[in-house]
């Protein structure tokens, strides 16, 4: 990496020398530099429910860093609302598609119920052979013995193709899915778009495109893909168009970065913990548990945010009505009171499934089984093909305190 903003040692020094009340974990640079860990370590020890008043970017917010506190707040949707905003950053409110991830009951429940069957395990089983075939094709096309970027050639490509498969999306246009997903969450600082108008323009194109697909599928025999299921499903076929589109975008966004960065995270973890790679080769039946451990260790969404609807005490701290409350999943998943040697990647960790990366409660990730299936197939087929997966340079990480992921992982295969 070029000049790192902080090394881990500097970060440790900094985290422990500053006054506790100045601590501000919602800093994209710290995530980009992989230097966030000591800040959360100190918070977990000294201020598990911490109020930050020093963020110019986001204003005052509470940080929850312990597993049990996060879970308790996540479960308590009566007090801690998802309505309108689910990250520490407040959205620009003028062009928001209705998505149930940012709604409270009863609206949330009604909408989620409509879409949930399409990612139900029975439907997924039907899609598994197609997904496996596509995974194999991608892996078979990778260069052997030369350096390439795993993020582009494997993580992004696999995730895009799997999304395209789930939607039976026109194959030649599949790059659009990745683009729309990136655009949906982009802002002007991200460099992806020039202006808010451009973002809205592109999303409207997305809406038009999906409407066409809907119209085409509704006139055909019911198929296995998500759009066809929505178009023919008894409870979904009369869905309001905006609702349909909001929900599709949620599926695209929800299923994209998260799975992508888990695919990258797994490769990094197995390189940082080579003994685990040997263990995996000896016993590939550990793969399903390893998938949970990869998701715990990576935690592709570092946090979710709630807004307090009333005054409420969490672990001794008085939270006030209207306060922003950030649940740092990334920290909860490294909580030693829940996970022994929590920073270590252990593919046979007995309680890996209990990770908090999917959230808990009413908003618990709806695509969790899709994500697990994708990762399981990918690792089964990777192991079948390559005797070596060697990371040959430093990872380049995403500059964000929400999406915890990678831009570059230089790799050589054998």
């Amino acid at each position: 990496m070029s000049e790192a903003i902080v090394s881990l040692e500097e970060a440790r020094e900094d985290a422990y020398s500053m006054p506790l009340e100045d601590l501000n974990p919602a800093q994209a640079e710290l995530f980009e530099a992989d230097a966030i860990w000591p800040y959360f370590e100190r918070l977990r020890k000294e201020a598990p429910v911490h109020y930050c008043t020093t963020s110019e970017e986001f204003g005052p917010y509470w940080s929850l860093s312990k597993y049990e506190d996060i879970k308790a707040v996540d479960m308590n949707h009566e007090v801690f609302s998802s309505e309108g905003a689910i990250t520490v950053d407040d959205p620009d409110a003028d062009f928001e598609l209705p998505m149930f991830i940012a709604m409270d009951p009863p609206k949330h429940d009604a909408q989620r119920k409509v879409v949930a069957p399409v990612v139900g395990p029975a439907n997924l089983a039907a899609l598994e052979p197609i997904i496996r075939k596509r995974v194999c094709d991608i892996l078979d096309s990778l260069p052997i013995g030369e350096t390439f970027n795993w993020v582009d050639k494997v993580s992004i490509e696999l995730t895009t193709q799997m999304l395209a498969t789930l939607f039976d999306f026109p194959w030649e246009d599949r790059a659009k899915l990745t683009r729309w997903s990136d655009v949906a969450t982009a802002n002007e600082e991200s460099g992806l778009i020039e202006s808010e108008e451009q973002r809205q323009q592109e999303l409207l194109e997305c809406l038009a495109y999906f409407t066409e697909l809907w119209n085409e599928r509704i006139n055909k025999e019911p198929g296995n893909d998500l759009i066809s299921m929505l178009a023919h499903g008894e409870s979904t076929r009369n869905m309001d168009p905006m609702e349909y589109l909001g929900n599709l975008v949620l599926l695209i966004v929800g299923g994209n970065d998260t799975t992508r960065n888990s695919l990258s995270g797994g490769l990094l973890a197995l390189n940082q913990f080579p003994d685990q790679m040997s263990k995996l080769r000896e016993d590939p039946s550990i793969i399903p548990n390893m998938v949970s451990e990869i998701i715990r260790w990576q935690t592709p969404l570092a946090h979710m945010r709630r807004t307090a609807l009333e005054d409420y005490v969490v672990n001794g701290q008085q939270i006030k009505q209207g306060d922003k409350v950030v649940m740092w999943y990334i920290s909860g998943n490294r909580d030693e009171d829940k996970f022994e040697n929590a920073d270590d990647f252990m593919i046979d960790r007995p309680n890996a499934r209990q990770h908090i990366a999917f959230g808990f409660g009413l908003h618990r990730c709806m695509g969790n089984r899709v994500a697990e299936m994708q990762l399981r197939i990918a690792w089964e087929e990777i192991l079948n093909r390559f005797s070596k997966l060697e990371l040959v340079g430093d990872p380049v990480r995403v500059r964000s305190s929400f999406v915890k992921g990678y831009l570059e992982l230089p790799v050589v295969l054998a």
Binding site: K71, D109, A122, R353, G361, L362, R364, N368, R369
Partner: protein, 106 residues
């Protein structure tokens, strides 16, 4: 103390003895009954301990509570006798109970 029989989706029966005070979910996990994930560890917030209670035992265990109902309600595969097994305490009253474990937890 109660004897609990879990029937997995392939028809296989797993009978276990459980002490009062734990939950039916705990009884399954402690005895390695397949098909129950229990990701949240028994706090009614993941719905991956879903079971379908045999008809005649429904009156004994009763309907789900409010929080449990809202979690179950999100599962497209729920049935009339669905319960989250972490919310069924083991007591002498349920001795002999039979529950079905679905093929998939969501």
């Amino acid at each position: 103390m109660a004897k609990i029989t879990f029937i997995t989706h392939d028809g296989e029966k797993h009978s276990v003895d459980a002490d009062n005070g734990i939950s039916v979910m705990n009884a399954a996990i402690d005895n390695l009954v397949p098909g129950i994930d229990a990701d949240c560890g028994g706090e009614c917030s993941c719905a991956t301990c879903h079971v379908v209670v045999e008809d005649k035992w429904m009156a004994v265990v009763g309907p789900p509570g409010d929080r449990e109902e809202s979690m179950l309600d999100l599962n497209p595969e729920r049935e009339a006798n669905s319960r989250l097994s972490c919310q069924i305490p083991v007591t002498d009253d349920i001795d002999g109970i039979v529950v079905n474990v679905p093929e998939f937890q969501m």
